[in-house]
Amino acid sequence: MTSVLETEVEDAPRRSRKRAPGGGLGRYILVRFLLIIPTIFILMTMVFFLMRITGDPLTAALGGRLTPAQLAERRAEAGYDRPLIVQYFDYLGGVLRGDFGTTYSDNTPVSEVLTTYGAATFELVMYALVVALLLGVPLGMIAARTRDRWPDAVLRIIAILGYATPVFFVGLLLKLVFSVGLGWLPVAGRLSTEGQISMSTILNPTPFFLLDALRLGDMELLGDVVRHAILPAVALGILTGGIFLRLVRTNMIGTQDMQYIESARSRGVAERRLTTRHALRPALIPIITVMGMQVALMLGGAVLTETTFEWNGLGYMLAEYMKARDYVAVQGIVMMLAVIVAVSNFVVDVVAALIDPRVRY
């Protein structure tokens, strides 16, 4: 009887939680994944009805240029005279089949717009993310380690300059120095004319230029792709890197003051290792969360970078289609961005769970 009490006091709340290895994590990931579906559905519904508040896409695009009678005829043709709810289910059905409609301004299937330009944006954001991580994480760690001394102060100022300077200004400055002044890098675009010719020789092209260049094994083409990507990636990367720097610094300082760091120190662990191993991983949990949101923002907010560098991505096209009042295209792109945000959040949740064992049960 006595031993029963004793072990119960110590063990009882834990024993019931005995789990198969990875079982808690698998379940967690599954639940998070299933949550994407309603999220996307709600976003889709909201986008659809918000777009319809101002009328149908046809009226928006062509209103004023056609007589009311012609407009009514075209609306009936396109099915926009049906009840909104019918149109909504029609739209949902289309989306499920991968049909997002066709743009008015250039008569392209929206799905094609999404893959072509979406891939361009994705490429840009990934390059920028690499730049931002390479800048933000190590510099943030240095700032945290030298807290309140001069390297920290300098880095903080750099970070503020990084994220407070508008991206188009940084972009113009970079272009002025590296393209116009030094002539090292191209001014704009994703490929040179020769590059475009080489690229057109590929069979079954993917929308990713870097991938295609690698598949061709054409080093000159690869160089061309990379050279075009550097300035936009750096411009967008500096902005995000500044935010990452502050983020890493704050969270590292938070974990460096935790007792488990002092505890490891009391067993002789070196300062450098305390920073790079012991403090970094716990600090990464909030960092990953904010980074995920930043990536989502970058994907949607690369408009300025894309415009500055004439990088034909989703943001650039969104601006173009808005100018043309092409709401079918806008609706498709906004949808796509919403999906990207939902998926990024899922990825963040999973990464956070991999880092933090406490999330998993």
Binding site: D11, A12, S263, S266, V269
Partner: protein, 565 residues
């Protein structure tokens, strides 16, 4: 200063001075401290917060903050630590001297498995060690501190262990490199009393087995009486008294030591119920109940399809007008949940809970609001229960602003000043901000705020557990005096049986959501009906080394020493 003269001592501190450079000027934290610790000796350093005891202990590992400046000598294993380089200090840490922390949950990295954390110390001192060797050492280390299934559990993360097990693992980590001196900073303060007894047993056992010297920093005189061979009393950065443990408890020389000892509640010595006149006892027994719980159930909904957690599993008790009801239990027993439910801060999910004649089960906030003013609440941590942007006056007056809008600012000010006087604080404190006050002063303010509407019922949730012993004693005295004068009924929640007995007329013991005892103090303490209560009483160390030795023997005879054979 040579090391040879202290060969027989494991630690020798000579004329240690530690200064801190702060914004408010130079702080002299340690002022000429000298002491020695012999091999196998357990030395307790006691004193209030700010007495310099933690700084002294940390200087033994060279773990002082950058703003600190130390002079004198701290000689560990023949080497003077003061003035050593960081690299030299690192080489000593873990190998010659290691440390155990107060809060095992925060002293372990939440995102790494146990074996990895334990291995970091090994890796720091033996760079060539392999993963396999680390894992083997981790298993041995965990087994040596009594963690069952060590081979499997070294892959677990800290949150998968109970508080007591975490502290065992911390001790294992401190021991893996064979340090002959361990600094334990309040090693049991964050633990439940029954777990504390086991950890103290483990520490004593380690000393027996390995001859390790231990410096234990504590403010709990019961722990001192249980564990220590000798005691150093610190006050304002100086050691004012240093004696063998029996000598110190029997004949405290310094007035401060005497005061410190007098402030410790001694289980069964001053029961609040026994202190009452028979007529008062009768009056209390006949009084109308203000709180009646019948088969009370409180559940927390489970997350994502998990079953609900039943925090309170069908509890019956009554609190009568003018009565102090003490609720005791370990962490997670449901005592705080009950307190919060009575104050309307938690929903009840089954049974019945009647507070001041109103049924709480299914109560709506709107219907409860007029009742709120008749109930006061004192929170555990005075550091976080005040809005830092409000002055003390605004804090205390807040309930008046909400519930007695007819009062003019001048009248409110007068009420606040009267209350400050009642809690024995000068009226000028009204203009100050919470951070300008000490913990004990803040808890007085907390009491004042809870009493400002003259409630009929006060719920106090561990109001003194964050305070130093001597401060606790004065706050408890104040509570007792105010309760006698104002006659409110109170639910006093605590994990400390001795504190509860000195204050409460009735005691209830909660064990995992069940009320296993309910009776007057002497009845519960002398004739406990449930095994948990017996263990709780037996494991509470009393501040008397001679008596505690007997109690410890009795405890171990029945429940074992808490370590593997």
């Amino acid at each position: 200063m040579t090391a040879t003269q202290n060969e027989e001592s494991r630690l020798a501190i000579r004329e240690l001075d530690v200064h801190f450079a702060t914004d408010g000027g130079d702080v002299h934290a340690v002022d000429g401290v000298s002491l020695e610790v012999a091999p196998g000796e357990i030395l307790a350093i006691v004193g209030e917060s700010g007495s310099g005891k933690s700084v002294t202990a940390r200087s033994v590992l060279g773990l002082l903050p950058e703003t600190a400046e130390a002079s004198g000598a701290v000689i560990v294993s023949g080497t003077d630590l003061v003035g050593l380089s960081q690299a030299q200090l690192r080489a000593m840490r873990g190998e010659d001297v290691s440390m155990i922390f107060q809060e095992p949950s925060s002293a372990m990295n939440p995102v790494f498995p146990i074996w990895w954390q334990l291995g970091e110390g090994l890796r720091a001192h033996r760079p060539k060690i392999t993963k396999k060797e680390i894992r083997a050492e981790a298993i041995t280390a965990l087994e040596s501190v009594g963690i069952p299934d060590a081979a499997e559990r070294i892959d677990r993360y800290p949150h998968e262990f109970s508080g007591g097990q975490k502290q065992r693992i911390m001790i294992a980590m401190a021991l893996t490199l064979g340090a002959e001196l361990i600094v334990a900073d309040e090693p049991t303060t964050a633990l439940d009393v029954t777990v504390q007894a086991e950890i103290l047993g483990l520490l004593r056992d380690i000393r027996e087995r390995t001859g390790t010297s231990i410096i234990v920093i504590t403010h709990n005189m019961g722990v001192v009486a249980d564990l220590a061979d000798s005691v150093a009393v610190m006050f304002q950065g100086q050691i004012i008294e240093r004696a063998g443990v029996r000598e110190l408890f029997a004949n405290p020389r310094e007035e401060y030591t005497q005061k410190l000892l007098a402030a410790v509640p001694h289980l069964g010595r001053n029961s609040a119920w026994t202190a009452l006149e028979p007529a008062q006892q009768e009056a209390l027994t006949a009084a109308e109940p203000v709180v009646v719980a019948k088969d009370l159930v409180i559940e927390y909904p489970g997350r994502m399809g998990k079953p609900a957690f039943r925090a309170v599993k069908g509890v019956d008790f009554e609190i009568r007008a003018g009565e102090v009801y003490g609720l005791v239990g370990e962490s997670g027993s449901g005592k705080t949940t009950i307190g919060r439910a009575i104050a309307g801060l938690e929903r009840t999910t089954g049974g019945s809970l009647s507070v001041l004649g109103h049924e709480m089960n299914g109560m709506r906030e709107k219907a409860f609001k007029p009742l709120r003013r008749r109930i006061g609440f004192v929170f555990q941590d005075p550091a976080t229960s005040f809005n830092p942007h409000l002055t003390i006056e605004q804090c205390i007056a807040e309930p008046l602003v909400v519930h007695e809008q007819q009062l003019t600012p001048a009248e409110r000010g007068k009420r606040v000043r009267d209350l400050l006087e009642a809690v024995e604080l000068p009226g000028r404190y009204a203009e100050r901000y919470p951070h300008e006050l000490s913990g004990g002063q803040r808890q007085r303010i907390s009491l004042a705020r809870a009493l400002v509407l003259e409630p009929e019922l006060l719920v106090a949730d561990e109001p003194t557990s964050a305070l130093d012993v001597s401060v606790q004693a004065t706050v408890l005295d104040l509570f007792r005096e105010l309760q006698t004068r104002l006659g409110f009924a109170a639910l006093f929640i605590s994990h400390d049986l001795a504190v509860v007995d000195s204050l409460a007329h009735r005691i209830g013991v909660l064990f995992r959501g069940d009320l296993v005892e309910d009776g007057h103090g002497p009845d519960v303490l002398q004739r406990p009906t449930h095994e948990y209560t017996r263990k709780l009483i037996a494991s509470l160390p009393v501040p008397d080394p001679v008596e505690q030795e007997k109690r410890r023997a009795a405890f171990q005879a029945e429940w074992g020493s808490g370590t593997p054979g």
